[in-house]
C-alpha cells in the first residue's frame, strides 16, 4: 500500500525540520516528545528542560483520533493546565498497565460500534498551550480523484466534522498547478470567518502548509486545530499519511519515520514481517496477510489480480470463515524467493489440525503468466514441499494447482511428480481449466 499513516510525533518532526522553508514568517517551538512509559518520560526530561518547567499535555500517539472523547487526553489534574511531569508520567503508567478500550466513532459524545481493545504503547507529551477558542483553526490537505484539495476552517477543534459543509472551505488544485496559481487561489478562498486582521497571516500559513503537503509527499496532512497567536504557531493535533513510494526521494526530508500498526490491529506476525522484508529486497512482489490462521483453506496464488479473484471465489463458495490468508507472489520471483514464500505458508498451515478434523486445502493458483517462469517458481514450491511433506501429511492436506504461462507444462508435471513421490494428495490443472474452478472442486470435494 502506497499511503501509510505515521505518528503525530513524526508528522510534527517532519514539519519542524522544514519549518523555515515553508513558514518563514511563523515560529514553532517544536517542544514534543514520544515516550513508551512514565520512566522514559522522566529520562527524556533531562534533555528537554521544558518538560520540568512547563505544564504538560499527554495523549496516546497510535494513529487513532477522538482521543478527547475517549478520555485519553491528559491536560488537567484539578484545573486545565496544571499537569506536571510527575503527574504526566504517572498517568501514562496508569494507562499502559492494562488494555484500553478505544471507540473510533461517536454520535455526539456517545460512542458507537464496538471498541477496539489493545495496549497503549506510545504517548506524545507537549507543553500545555493556553489560548482562546478564537485562535484555533482547522487545515488539511489530501488527494481527491486527480486533484489535491485543501480544506480550511476558521474553527478548529474536535467539533469541526459536525458542520463540515458550513464551516469548511474546500479548494482544489490540479497536480500541474504552479506556485503562483496556488497562492492566488488560496488567498482568494480564506474562510470568511477568519478575523479580518488575521486573514493575511492565515493565507501565508495555508500556502506554506499546502506547499509542504505537496513537496514533502504527504498523502494526507491535517492539523486540527492549530493555534495562531501573531507569529507564534502551536500544532495541537496532527494526523498524517505519507506516500511511501516516494521514500527513496525523501530519505533526507522525512528522516527516520516509522509506519506503526494501528491500535487494535493485531501486531504483524514474525512470518508476515519476514515476507515484508523479503518483498522489500526483491524486484518481484511477495505479499502475505493472515486472516484466520486456524481456518481450513490456504492460498498461494501468483498475481495481484488473480489472488483477489481466488479470495472472492473462496468467500463466495466456502465463506470467509474458511479463508486463512490472503497473499500473492508475482513479477518473476526467483526459485529461492518462491521457496521461502511457500515454506512460510506451509509452516503456518501445518501448525494445527483443522478443528473439525477435515483435510486442509492448499490452493496453488494463478492466471496464465505473462513472463513469470512457472517451472522455476514451482521448483521453489517443490523444495518447500520436500521440507514440510511429513507435517503436511500429519495434519492432512489436499493440494489443488491451476496455472499457465511460460514453461507451465514442465512446472505442472514437476509439481505433480514431486507430490506423488512425497505421498501428498494433489490435483493439477492447466490453462484449459477456468482459473478459479479449482476452488469449486476443492469446496465440493
Amino acid at each position: 500500500m502506497a499511503q501509510k499513516a505515521i505518528r503525530e510525533y513524526d508528522a510534527k518532526s517532519i514539519l519542524a525540520k522544514h519549518w523555515d522553508k515553508y513558514f518563514p514568517r511563523f515560529t514553532y517551538a517544536y517542544e514534543t516528545v514520544l515516550v513508551k512509559n512514565g520512566l522514559e518520560l522522566r529520562e527524556v526530561a533531562i534533555d528537554h528542560l521544558w518538560l520540568s518547567t512547563k505544564t504538560l499535555v499527554a495523549k496516546p500517539d497510535m494513529l487513532f483520533g477522538k482521543r478527547g472523547k475517549n478520555g485519553l487526553v491528559l491536560f488537567k489534574d484539578k484545573a486545565p493546565g496544571d499537569v506536571t511531569l510527575v503527574k504526566a508520567a504517572n498517568w501514562i503508567d496508569s494507562k499502559t498497565k492494562e488494555k484500553q478500550e478505544v471507540y473510533f466513532s461517536f454520535e455526539g459524545d456517545t460512542p458507537s460500534g464496538n471498541p477496539s481493545v489493545d495496549y497503549l504503547t506510545h504517548f506524545i507529551v507537549e507543553p500545555f498551550a493556553p489560548h482562546d477558542q478564537a485562535e484555533e483553526y482547522y487545515i488539511s490537505a489530501t488527494c481527491v480523484g486527480d486533484e489535491d484539495v485543501l480544506y480550511m476552517s476558521a474553527e478548529g477543534g474536535m467539533e469541526v466534522e459536525e458542520g463540515w459543509d458550513e464551516k469548511v472551505v474546500e479548494v482544489a488544485f490540479p497536480i500541474t498547478a504552479t506556485e503562483a496559481e496556488i497562492e492566488e487561489k488560496i488567498k482568494a478562498n480564506i474562510p470568511v470567518d477568519v478575523a479580518q486582521k488575521d486573514k493575511t497571516a492565515f493565507a501565508q500559513f495555508a500556502i506554506g502548509f499546502f506547499k509542504a503537503y505537496r513537496e514533502l509527499n504527504f498523502a494526507y496532512l491535517e492539523i486540527n486545530p492549530f493555534v495562531m497567536q501573531g507569529r507564534k504557531i502551536e500544532l495541537l493535533d496532527m494526523v498524517a499519511k505519507l506516500d511511501d513510494t516516494a521514500g527513496f526521494m525523501m530519505v533526507e526530508e522525512w528522516g527516520s519515520v516509522e509506519y506503526p500498526t494501528a491500535f487494535g490491529m493485531e501486531e504483524k506476525s514474525p512470518e508476515v514481517l519476514a515476507i515484508e522484508d523479503a518483498d522489500a529486497k526483491t524486484g518481484a512482489s511477495l505479499k502475505l496477510t493472515l486472516l484466520k490462521p486456524d481456518a481450513r483453506i490456504w492460498t498461494m496464488v501468483a498475481g495481484g489480480g488473480a489472488s483477489v479473484v481466488y479470495a472472492d471465489t473462496i468467500a463466495d463458495l466456502a465463506g470467509i470463515e474458511d479463508l486463512a490468508n490472503y497473499g500473492e507472489y508475482s513479477g518473476g520471483p526467483t526459485t529461492g524467493e518462491t521457496k521461502f514464500y511457500a515454506e512460510t505458508i506451509l509452516d503456518l498451515m501445518t501448525r494445527k489440525k483443522d478443528l473439525e478434523g477435515r483435510d486442509k486445502i492448499l490452493i496453488i493458483g494463478g492466471a496464465i503468466a505473462n513472463f513469470t517462469d512457472v517451472a522455476a517458481t514451482f521448483t521453489g514450491i517443490i523444495l518447500a514441499f520436500e521440507e514440510y511433506a511429513d507435517k503436511m501429511k500429519e495434519i492432512g492436506m489436499k493440494i489443488y494447482v491451476r496455472r499457465g504461462g511460460p514453461n507451465y507444462e514442465k512446472g505442472l508435471r514437476d509439481i505433480k511428480a514431486a507430490a506423488d513421490r512425497l505421498g501428498l494428495w494433489i490435483d493439477v490443472y492447466g490453462p484449459e481449466t477456468h482459473v478459479t474452478d479449482i476452488v469449486r472442486m476443492a469446496v465440493e470435494a
Binding site: 500500500m1 502506497a2 488527494c143 480523484g145 486527480d146 490540479p174 497536480i175 500541474t176 505537496r214 509527499n217 498523502a219 506516500d243 513510494t245 516516494a246 527513496f248 526521494m249 494501528a262 490491529m265 512482489s285 505479499k287 496477510t289 486472516l291 501468483a302 498475481g303 495481484g304 489480480g305 488473480a306 489472488s307 483477489v308 479473484v309 479470495a311 472472492d312 471465489t313 473462496i314 468467500a315 463466495d316 463458495l317 470467509i320 479463508l323 490472503y326 500473492e328 508475482s330 513479477g331 494463478g366 492466471a367 496464465i368 503468466a369 505473462n370 513472463f371 499457465g404 504461462g405 511460460p406 514453461n407 490453462p431 477456468h434 482459473v435 478459479t436 474452478d437 476452488v439 469449486r440
Partner: protein, 600 residues
C-alpha cells in the same frame, strides 16, 4: 484515433530488456509484419551500436542509443515509447519523451512510482494528447498488428489464446495477469480480442477504463467490450455515465473483482495498490450493481464470467473470423557469431554491397577500383568525381622510393629469404603515426580546428600547446617556390571536380601562415590527401560525426595501406629478381656506446 496500434506501428524500447524485445519480434514474425515492431533500443549504459535478435530463423540488428532523443532522431516514425525504466527513473524518462514529442503512446511498466510524480506525468501526457498505458502494467496488444513487450506471454500461449489475429472483443483490465487469462477465456468462449489494454495496478494510472472504452467504441473492429475492474476508485462510474449519455453503445460486459474486501477493514490490502475502497460506492458490490443497472452485462461472479461472455458473443451473431496465416517461430535457433554487411556469397554470384562482382569488375562496366572501394568500404555508390579521386590517391601514394622506412623494412625482409606476404607485412607494420600517419593526423587536426572556428594563428598556438608539429605540413625539400607536383595535381583536381573544398580552403590559410615563417612548411601530400578526403565526404553528404568516425577508425590510413602495398610488393619482387643476399648493416654505421651495467 480509433485504433491504438497498426501493423506499421513501431516502438522505441527504453531499457535493453532482451527477453521482452525478443518476444515482440517473435510475435512480429509470427503475424508476418513487414517491419519489426521495435525500431530502436535506448540503453544508457550500453556501449554497442546495436543488439542482435532473432527474427524467425534469422537474426536482425536493432540499433541502440544512449538517449531517447538520439533514438527518436534516428527513428522518427517510431511513435510508441515502451518505458521499462525502474520506478526511480520512469518519471524522468516519460517527461523527457513528452518534451521531445512525436510519441502517440507511452507505456510505463514500473510499479510504485511516487504518486505525485505519477499524477504529474499522467496529467502532462493527457494535456499533450499522449495515451499513457500504465504505470504498473504489462501493456496492451492489437492482435495481428502490434504487441507490447511480454503481453500474452509465450508464443504458444499467444496462438492458443488467438492473440495472433484480431477478434471482436475490446478488453480492458487493471491486472496484467488477468488480462492474459481473459484473452484465453475470450478465445475459448468467443472469437478473441480486437484490442486490449491492461491499464495498470497503481493508484494513479494514465489512461483509465473510459479512455480505452471510448476509443474502442469508435474502432469498427471492436463489436463488444469487456471491462474487468477492481474494488477501489470511481473509474467504473465514468463508464456508467458514458453509457447513460449514449457515448458508449456497443455491448459491455463487466465485473469488478475484490468482492471479498467488504468483510475486512481497510487494514487488509487486496490486490493492487489502487484497490482499496474509501467509500461505500468504491466497493466491488456497489460498482457491479451500478453497472448492471445501466444495462452492462454483469455475471454472478468471476467464475460465471465465461458463460456471460459466451452469451453476449453468441447473441451478436458475428461472422466467423478468417483465420490468418502465420509463420512458425523455430524452436531451436542459434545466434550467429559473425555479422557481414558488405558482401554476400550465398546467391548465384557473390555481390559487393548488392552488386554482382561481374557488374563492377569487367572493363565494359566502366567501373574502377574506386567504385569497388566505395561499395566494400562504404556500402555506397560514390559518384565518378569521388571514385576518380580515390584512385588518384591510391596512385599517388603507391610508392616513395626504397629509402623510406616501410620500403626499407620490406626489402630487408625479402633479402632474408622470406616470402612476398611476410615481406609485405613487415613493410605494412611500419605504417603508423610517423610513417603514413600524417594523413590521419592532418584530417583530424585540421578538421578539429575548422569545426571549432580556430583562426590559423589560434590553430598554431593550439598545436604548440599539444606539443606536436602540425601533421600534413612541411616537406624535406619542397617549398612554395619548388612545389610538390603531386600536391599541385590533387588540388587542381579538387578545384575542378569537387563541389566545394572548405577544409582545403582553410588549410591553405594555415599554410600561408606557416610558409611565412619557413619556406618548406608547405601543405604536403599526406596533408592534402587527408584534408581532401574530409572535403569529399562532406560533399557526399556525410554528417560530421560520421566523418569523425572514419578518421578515428583509421579509414584514411587504409587508403595509404592499399596504395603503398603496391609499391612494397614492387620492391619485394625487385629484391627477388635481383637475388640479393642477406643484408647486414655495416658496423661503422653504428655508434657503439655500451657501459658496464651497475649492480642495484
Amino acid at each position: 484515433m480509433a485504433q491504438l496500434f497498426t501493423r506499421d506501428t513501431q516502438a522505441i524500447f527504453w531499457n535493453n530488456n532482451t527477453t521482452a524485445i525478443q518476444r515482440m519480434l517473435d510475435y512480429d514474425y509470427t503475424i508476418k509484419r513487414d517491419k519489426p515492431s521495435v525500431a530502436a533500443i535506448v540503453a544508457p549504459t550500453s556501449s554497442g551500436k546495436f543488439e542482435k535478435f532473432f527474427y524467425g530463423p534469422d537474426e536482425i540488428m536493432i540499433p541502440t542509443f544512449k538517449t531517447t532523443a538520439e533514438a527518436k532522431v534516428a527513428q522518427p516514425q517510431a511513435d510508441v515509447l515502451l518505458n521499462f525504466a525502474s520506478f526511480r527513473t520512469a518519471y524522468d524518462v516519460t517527461m523527457e519523451a513528452l518534451e521531445i514529442g512525436g510519441f502517440g503512446t507511452i507505456m510505463i511498466t514500473a510499479e510504485g512510482i511516487p504518486e505525485r510524480l505519477a499524477r504529474k506525468m499522467n496529467a502532462t501526457a493527457r494535456a499533450n494528447g499522449v495515451v499513457v498505458i500504465g504505470p504498473a502494467t504489462v501493456g496492451g496488444i492489437a492482435p495481428g498488428a502490434f504487441k507490447i513487450a511480454n503481453v500474452g506471454g509465450t508464443i504458444s500461449n499467444i496462438v492458443n489464446s488467438k492473440l495472433h489475429r484480431a477478434g471482436s472483443c475490446g478488453l480492458v483490465t487493471r491486472s496484467g495477469g488477468l488480462f492474459n487469462e481473459l484473452s484465453n477465456i475470450i478465445s475459448i468462449n468467443a472469437d478473441g480480442i480486437a484490442e486490449g489494454v491492461a491499464i495498470g495496478g497503481d493508484r494513479f494510472v494514465g489512461s483509465v477504463f473510459i479512455d480505452n472504452l471510448l476509443r474502442m467504441e469508435s474502432n469498427p473492429q471492436v463489436k463488444y467490450m469487456l471491462l474487468l475492474g477492481e474494488v477501489g476508485g470511481i473509474e467504473e462510474y465514468k463508464v456508467i455515465d458514458a453509457i447513460k449519455e449514449g457515448k458508449i453503445t456497443k455491448p459491455v460486459i463487466a465485473w469488478c473483482i475484490g468482492t471479498i474486501a467488504k468483510y475486512y477493514d481497510s487494514g487488509v490490502q487486496f490486490g493492487h495498490a489502487g484497490a482499496s475502497a474509501n467509500t461505500q460506492g468504491e466497493t466491488a458490490e456497489a460498482k457491479n450493481r451500478a453497472m448492471a443497472e445501466v444495462g452492462i452485462y454483469v455475471p454472478q461472479s468471476f467464475n460465471d464470467l465465461p458463460n456471460k461472455i459466451k452469451e453476449v458473443y453468441e447473441s451478436l451473431h458475428l461472422a466467423p473470423i478468417q483465420e490468418a496465416e502465420m509463420n512458425v517461430v523455430p524452436t531451436v535457433r542459434r545466434s550467429k557469431q559473425f555479422i557481414c554487411t558488405i558482401s554476400d556469397d550465398r546467391g548465384d554470384e557473390a555481390t559487393y554491397a548488392g552488386f554482382p562482382i561481374s557488374s563492377v569488375a569487367l572493363p565494359s562496366t566502366g567501373k574502377g577500383i574506386g567504385d569497388v572501394i566505395s561499395l566494400l568500404w562504404f556500402k555506397k555508390q560514390y559518384p565518378k568525381w569521388a571514385t576518380d579521386f580515390i584512385e588518384t590517391v591510391l596512385k599517388t601514394v603507391a610508392d616513395h622510393g626504397p629509402a623510406v622506412s616501410g620500403a626499407h623494412n620490406a626489402k630487408v625482409t625479402a633479402r632474408a629469404g622470406k616470402s612476398v606476404v611476410e615481406s609485405l607485412v613487415t613493410g605494412l607494420l611500419t605504417i603508423g603515426p610517423r610513417f603514413g600517419g600524417a594523413i590521419d593526423g592532418a584530417a583530424q587536426y585540421f578538421k578539429y580546428a575548422d569545426d571549432n572556428g580556430l583562426s590559423p594563428k589560434e590553430f598554431l598556438g593550439y598545436m604548440k600547446n599539444e606539443g606536436i608539429p602540425i601533421p600534413g605540413i612541411g616537406h624535406r625539400i619542397k617549398s612554395l617556390k619548388n612545389p610538390d607536383l603531386r600536391v599541385k595535381g590533387l588540388m587542381e583536381y579538387a578545384a575542378e571536380y569537387f563541389p566545394s573544398t572548405p577544409l582545403l580552403d582553410y588549410a591553405r590559410t594555415v599554410e600561408a601562415l606557416t610558409t611565412s615563417k619557413k619556406e618548406n612548411l608547405i601543405l604536403n601530400v599526406d596533408g592534402t590527401i587527408g584534408i581532401l578526403m574530409v572535403d569529399m565526404w562532406r560533399a557526399l553528404g556525410y554528417a560530421e560525426e560520421e566523418i569523425d568516425e572514419f578518421i578515428s577508425s583509421g579509414t584514411l590510413n587504409a587508403f595509404f595501406i592499399v596504395g603503398r602495398s603496391i609499391g612494397f610488393i614492387g620492391h619485394i619482387l625487385d629484391e627477388k629478381r635481383l637475388e640479393m643476399p642477406m643484408y647486414r648493416h655495416p658496423m661503422d654505421d653504428i655508434l657503439y656506446d655500451v657501459q658496464m651495467a651497475q649492480e642495484i
